[in-house]
């Protein structure tokens, strides 16, 4: 959809949705932000207020029909979870409007703009964020502890509890559906099955809590974005995911997201949750996160083959090799420990 078409549709809709909440009369300065191989992100002005539109550019049907889909929640459910998270002190954007897949705009939601830096290559290295980086691992632990305390009974019905066994079965199904093209991915899944930790109770997980989905200002954590992979699972999963190599953006010596240390993350988590997973379990989930990233890359390739997406999505399919490399490095490290 062109920016002009989207502007026209939004102008028709938002007058009513935003009446009494956000002053303004029409959309101006609509621009697509770079990045996001899955959902589109647009920034726009409504009056003098900056807003963000998240929009899924393909039909819900094409996702449902995709074997092995792991694209996560509908944007309608994602918006519902963000609204739940506003009941905690985790910094999340305010949801202003939600459109389901039958709407001419397409499946989308409109949310407030939170000031902060999202580009990891900036805040991970720039001196401006030195203090922020020193606090961030603890703050991320705190935020995860709070997210995990959200009452799962209030979640949309699509976000149910699961077990490791079901996750393994789903991952195996996806590897088969995607053509069994990677012996390393299969080796990784076998290893994860053979080394599974004892089953832990399910909590609400953000599911994609990582460098790249965090907004950072000079004080530290300013916003938690991108809730589309929210699901239920063991708490350690979110912590391990944040530490996965692929989300350290080259800063491999800082295990928490490329900016922090395990001890600070665990201490922050303990301060709000009252307990914390052990480091070995967190590291297990780092390997699981590597496999998951590989599966996301394969999903992108499958989506591209189904006619959805541009050259970026095709190229992301090749980033599976990052996941494969990390699976082998992490398993080797684990076995030698």
């Amino acid at each position: 959809m062109s920016p002009d078409q989207l502007t026209a549709l939004l102008n028709t809709e938002l007058g009513e949705s935003l009446a009494g909440k956000v002053p303004g009369e029409q959309v101006t300065q609509l621009e697509r932000l770079s990045g996001g191989a899955n959902n589109e992100t647009w920034r726009l002005m409504w009056g003098s207020t900056s807003l963000i539109l998240r929009r899924r550019p393909f039909s819900a049907d094409s996702i449902d029909q995709l074997e092995g889909n792991i694209l996560g929640l509908s944007l309608v459910d994602e918006a519902a979870v963000i609204q739940l998270a506003t009941s905690t002190s985790v910094p999340v954007p305010e949801i202003h409007a939600v459109f389901d897949a039958t709407h001419p705009i397409g499946e989308a939601f409109l949310m407030g703009f939170i000031a902060g830096e999202s580009i990891p290559q900036k805040w991970l290295v720039d001196d401006t964020y030195e203090v922020a980086r020193s606090r961030l691992a603890f703050q991320c632990g705190e935020a995860l502890g709070r997210i995990h305390s959200i009452d799962c009974s209030e979640l949309p019905p699509n976000i149910g509890p699961t077990t490791l066994e079901k996750r393994f079965t789903a991952a195996q199904k996806r590897l088969h559906a995607f053509g069994d093209i990677s012996p390393v991915m299969q080796f990784g899944l076998n290893w994860l099955i053979d080394h599974a930790p004892s089953e832990a109770s399910c909590v609400l997980l953000h599911g994609d809590f990582r460098t790249g989905n965090l907004l950072v200002d000079e004080q530290g954590l300013a916003g938690v974005l991108d809730w589309e992979l929210t699901h239920q699972g063991p708490a350690a999963e979110d912590l391990g995911y944040l530490c996965a190599n692929v989300w350290r953006f080259g800063q491999l010596h800082k295990p928490v997201g490329g900016f922090g240390e395990y001890d600070d993350l665990i201490a922050g988590y303990g301060s709000t949750a009252g307990w914390a997973p052990d480091l070995a379990t967190i590291r297990y989930w780092e390997i699981f996160a590597a496999l998951s990233w590989g599966l996301v890359c394969q999903t992108m390739g499958a989506l591209w083959h189904s006619g959805n997406g541009d050259v970026e999505r095709a190229a992301v399919a090749r980033r599976r090799s990052e996941a494969e490399l990390d699976i082998l490095l992490l398993i080797e490290e684990w076995e030698r420990a």
Binding site: D180, P183, V184, N190, L252, V311, S321, L325
Partner: protein, 135 residues
Amino acid sequence: MSQDEAQTTASDVTTSELLGAVKGFLMDSALPALSGRDQFNARVAANVLGIIDREQQLGPELAALDAAAAQQWLPGDPGPGTAPQQLSRALAAREIHADSHFFEYLKQRQLLVAAINNPRYASRKVAEEKWRDDS
């Protein structure tokens, strides 16, 4: 070398050079003329040409490594598909004992795959330092 040979000017253009020429067009001409998503995708497209170039160079070595592995670990009928597919399916069926020799094959394979797809990925440098000497 005769004087005639010394004065020869290259007239053929290899596949790798062609890819380099297209990449140059994308980065030097197309990209500055584009904006927004198209400009971003032009950069992605230039990177994709790099993948193709590296696969041309390293692909045969990777294929030979996979074929040798299939021969070593799949002594019977390996079934349909490519060598990586045959190995993956045998692993899924737990028909391969994934010992240290097999792990070594996976590591050497992955060094090549990473060199093709994303040589700048940070973990690759770590893997290169750890695994190059193992081969």
